[in-house]
Assembly symmetry: D3
Homo-oligomer: 308 residues x 6
């Protein structure tokens, strides 16, 4: 069909459709209540990264909110691969995709009757990574600001479930951007420990060691896990431990990890410079090099191509 030439394809409840034809009734509970979960991986050189682990995490999120997606994990993986395959031809050789599964509880009939759905809404889709928009971050480092807003506590809604209830993070980002445009928010948990940013995890380097907040009050990302594994390979001690603003200010270097960022250096926290002039500290550099080897993609260069 004509759309395939210039339009991406997405999966929607069993069908592969041009994105503009993936339309949802406004009574979809995802739209009404954010009553949905999702997960996102990315490609490196057009190959998808650790898909099984992302889908595994997706199913834990589903179990937490008690949504039955109507597909097995294996089927979810296959459909994801299929979506990707149908869209790769649209991608520049040096670009890559985010690939996401989004599952809502389906269409509401009457408000409180939770069980009257006739099944979940499943969308699988891909989007080009925002390489250009973020290119300068890989030159200057990220300015992190820790806002007053605290990460939603597990008693209310577990940060370990990747749900579509993102306002906690979105409002935090807005509050930060309104006073320091371009800065990224990293939130404290309710006990005052450093938790996470929107979809990102924080690492600090100090005296040759890596430090990162433990799971529980945050979503332990797969990129975070990758860094921990790589640190082990490189013999860099890495501890998961409660960290506070003091630790951030006292750090020699810092970086954020996320599916799309992989590893991106932090230049300052609350306006306090971390490390020296070069935001890429020595541990950061070693980890980036090994990460790039593992994914067979120089992601720093990939971002920076847009600086040229």
């Amino acid at each position: 069909m004509a759309e395939l030439v210039n339009e991406r394809i997405a999966y929607h409840n069993g069908a592969y459709l041009p994105e503009s034809r993936v339309l949802l009734p406004f009574r979809d509970r995802g739209f009404l209540y954010g009553d949905a979960v999702f997960d996102t991986t990315r490609t490196f050189r057009h190959l998808v990264f650790r898909l099984a682990e992302h889908v595994d995490r997706l199913y834990r999120s589903l179990r937490y909110v008690r949504i039955d997606p109507g597909l097995s994990p294996r089927e979810m993986c296959a459909a994801t691969e299929e979506v990707l395959a149908r869209n790769l031809h649209l991608l520049d050789p040096t670009d890559d995709y985010w690939v996401s599964q989004r599952i809502s509880r389906g269409t509401a009939t009457v408000d409180r009757e939770l069980n009257s759905q006739d099944g979940a809404t499943v969308v699988i889709e891909c989007t080009p990574l925002p390489l250009q928009e973020r290119a300068t971050l890989y030159r200057d480092g990220i300015r992190v600001v820790v806002p007053a807003r605290r990460r939603t506590p597990p008693e209310a809604l577990s940060p370990q479930a990747k749900t579509s209830n993102y306002l906690n993070m979105i409002v935090a980002d807005q509050e930060v951007a309104a006073i320091d445009p371009g800065a990224w928010a990293v939130l404290l948990d309710m006990a005052g420990n450093l938790a996470e940013g929107r979809g990102s995890n924080l690492f600090l380097g100090r005296d040759g060691c890596l430090l990162t907040p433990p799971a529980g009050q945050l979503l332990p990302g797969i990129s975070r896990q990758t860094v921990i594994e790589i640190a082990g390979e490189l013999g860099i001690p890495c501890r998961e431990t409660n960290l506070q603003l003091f630790d951030a200010y006292a750090a020699d270097e810092a970086f954020l990890t996320s599916t799309s960022l992989c590893i991106c250096p932090v230049r300052s926290i609350n306006g306090a410079r971390i490390g020296g002039e070069d935001p890429f500290g020595p541990l950061t550099r070693r980890l980036i090099r090994r990460y790039s080897e593992r994914v067979d993609c120089d992601f720093v260069d990939q971002y920076r191509q847009y600086l040229r």
Copy 2:
């Protein structure tokens, strides 16, 4: 058009359309992130209830999440009235509508670039009240269960903003329904005080006085406000004060308020019967009578018609 005969009309970004034609791109941020707010009032005998106050509250929610709806409050009211007018002919004389405005931040382009939207998504729609589904509640009273899950704290996302991030409440309701089907959840706040249910507020009666949790950790509903006003008219002392499980167990009577419920008696809390055999305590009865007069609708009878 043919649809108008048997299909409700909704407002969508300036147009009045049959509901089945109000379709949203899956990249609408309401669907992706619950990045949206809403408000809901109801009709009594086909007349809308305190619309201006609901819209006023809607705009405070919008301000909190920094969404510009692109309509003035006056325009929002007018469109709401118009939606209602176009749908009243579908309603039985003894039934009534919920009427809701739902505003998302619009369509996402690339994840983090919050400012690149070309405008909010606005949907205004109405739904028949679930009178039949709830009819027994007005005979037997609601069984309330207080789950372990706590209401999202204001540090994370204010309960005073009526946002589309409802998973905290939805999961709480599921946890309760899984062990006591038909029971409703009322959550504690992080400090252990009784807060609110999904869209509902709690009142206790003891020694001739009304007690209800104060605003701050909950959304102070307009029906709650109506009860406070009515109590004043009836000379029933009413205090907004921190309440705990002890107070609930020690109460002589209890009820929930919400836009659709108005006042619905509570039969038990965590399996402990409140009051005697009749869930309608003396204060509850007086308040229901006056509330019915004020809205010119015997809402208890309206619900109970479906028992017959």
Copy 3:
């Protein structure tokens, strides 16, 4: 004496008496204020289990509430063995006993004069295990419900001391049983982490690892310690770490441990099924087998005999 034929013997302040003759003045501070501590072990095939450790723990509890029992730990052990010896003849070969020491501060004279006691009240007694009452748990698994009630925090009264102030747990069990008869309560601590049930500890199994809440906000049971030791022997990784509802819902299997239960599988938490149809997960089965070997008693079979 005649009673010995059909009545159990208990120790009371130096004497071994038929239970019906162990009577306490109503001014005993144990009765007035729960001003007492206790500890309980059980027999396996009529042999007492890890008595020294239980008595050691008892003396730490005594030290915490500053009660002097008037007996040395060695004397306490000897009296316990003696009580057991005098009662074994009453026990069916396939049954076993709980064996408990209970020490109150003694008799109150005037309320606030704490020091005017003339010595502690010491009772040592045994009770047949409730094998029949619990037999179905070893077939179906325990339904766990996490109530709103939180475990008493150490700032108020340490859960590490096994005191006779059990209302926190008793009321929690009642609240759970009132909405789901037969379910067992497992409480969160004040920070929202999974703590413990009444006399029981929780283990989760996930991805081949055991997880259990750390000591501090709970009483680390001796059966819990036994499981940790056994896991080490079997090469099953076991981590003591903060766990939340998310972790429980995401678990592959779960079980409770206690002196009497040893290891009993959990079937569901808040109505969410843990694992598949069989509540006995693979780690649970391996641990039960080794535990049974260690205590030389197939305790699952012992409970299940009453199903036949």
Copy 4:
């Protein structure tokens, strides 16, 4: 009977017996678990004080822990009056009694089977007030020490229920007495606000106003209520509000209230003298005078008679 000459009589499950014959099986759940509640009033000049209110409070405590006493409130009052009547002849004209109802859940059969009791244990008894032991407090004032231990939070067990789980308070008193013999503990709640002592409430006087912590984290005593009423009669402004150590240190005067103390001045808090040399501040004196009139008993003189 001979005992009646020199022994007090108590009520026990329907019978009036000499105290030495009120004996409880050691399996009474009050002794095993503190699974009991109680309430205490006192006499003034041999007349019982506000008995109906104390019994009302007792029944709220019973409802909280879900114990059915098997007696109506009216029967409970009558039995209390009867116990008192049978013991007044033992009392010196200038002395008075504490009068208490103590209700446990009854005798345990097997641990977890809460429902297998055949009824509560009810004891009603009286004890002479410790007038002599406390006489110096009415000359020198009470030395209050605020320990590190915090009052049990309502999420764990409501301080508004007067239960027999008193170890929180008892251990606090011990910790205080071990470093300052004779001092009384007043505990903070979990949020750091002044809560209550063992059976006593705190009032501060500052700039001519009375301040006392609000109900919720503490048991609002009937003597406390009496003081609030009296303050209203005397035109002394009285606010129930969160108070902290700062407020105590900044106070002009302070006193404790309890059933037996009525009003007893506080001399110091954590070693910091409150007010001047005379621990009886001006508000304290006015309130004592009016309280004495109301109960028709100069209770300060009653205590002080033992100084002579």
Copy 5:
């Protein structure tokens, strides 16, 4: 003496000296540990404002940290007036002074021996108000930013005592200024409620009412008290109640009060504009007018003279 011509005079332990001769040994505990308290009032048209109340507050701070200043409140007031009198001739007619008493515990000898001081250090001094530096605030309004840092809780050190331990506030101001130069920090308390800025209190106006956080987690300023009194005179309802970020965002207008600011409008909170273009809301204007009358000084004009 020559210095008097162009140098301010300060009081130091009994002497009135040119400021440059008020020198402290480095072992003064104020310098070593911030072991000191202070209080500050200002003049209006060269007359000191509510000095007795400020000194009263100073003595409560002294009592809290248990420092004996060696002067009576009356002597403190007299010395303050004397310092002011000796410095007025240095002041422009349109300018005014801050006037402060600063009392440290005196000189340390050996670290832990707190009692070995030979007396407090008392300094009384005045400083011209920073009228020029702040002039634009009275044109544009203050940009308030709420940082992640929380106000020191009363359990640690009461904000009601005005001590020389100001790093909590200073570091908060630095964190804010580093990302938004010129913005002022207003901190949340540990429970997430709006507390106070460095020496300033926050008021919100909404629907014609004033709202301000209650005392307890903040120092209730004397200017704050003045505004409350004035609001009463003007018939503007004013409630002291817990406020959160939501309330700030939903406000129609906002202002800060402090000794030097009196009333200064707030333009934005976390980048979100409060009110419309004019930062002076209608309540703010009315209160400023009345405040100016009360102090007989148009303080807005006094600040704004430096804009000309």
Copy 6:
């Protein structure tokens, strides 16, 4: 110069002066606000202990409060050595010095303009250790009392920064000393875990293991670090873990560490004796012996010389 004969020399902003000539303007921000940090090491047999580590910690504190000392760490060390060298001749052979660097932000000009300083105030000085005052502690052990006051939380001001805001600790010590003269305060953190005393860390010994609170809510001292290293050398297991009052009461032995104390045994906590008659438990003895070897100084004997 004459002073050198009998007066110590200190460093002050570049100069080495007799202490009596190191005088600070009262507008030094250290005096006004405690706006300063410091660090302290000691000598052993006149040799300074781990100076580089102390200066490293000092610079982390400086970074936290954003003070630039104007000296490099190397220069700071050199000046410290120089101060020491100039004062050693005043010291008895068996005595030793505390050596401290104290850096304030410098002199305030106008209150809020933080950036208008012309540089920090740097003082480096030494003081003889209070060997005589503390001699009995090494015979009898320290009586520790845990007050109600909690350690300042990191959200307010990190205990990991050694700042001159010491009132939290000073007031705690006063509260303890007022009821138990000579006792030392050890504070709980906000979550109720044992934190630290004024400049001291707590260790418990139990069942042959060492336990000490983890960093984060406390300043992990260099003496604490030394003990951890020594324990490793001696094969004594040592865990950094959350500890509560229960753990303290259940300990077999306990000691405090600090720069000056090195290791000093604890005799009791809240009046509860730790260990037996001899406050020096077996682990304490072994660690003291090894510590003495490492610093080449029998510090216990050094303190005890003053008992003779």
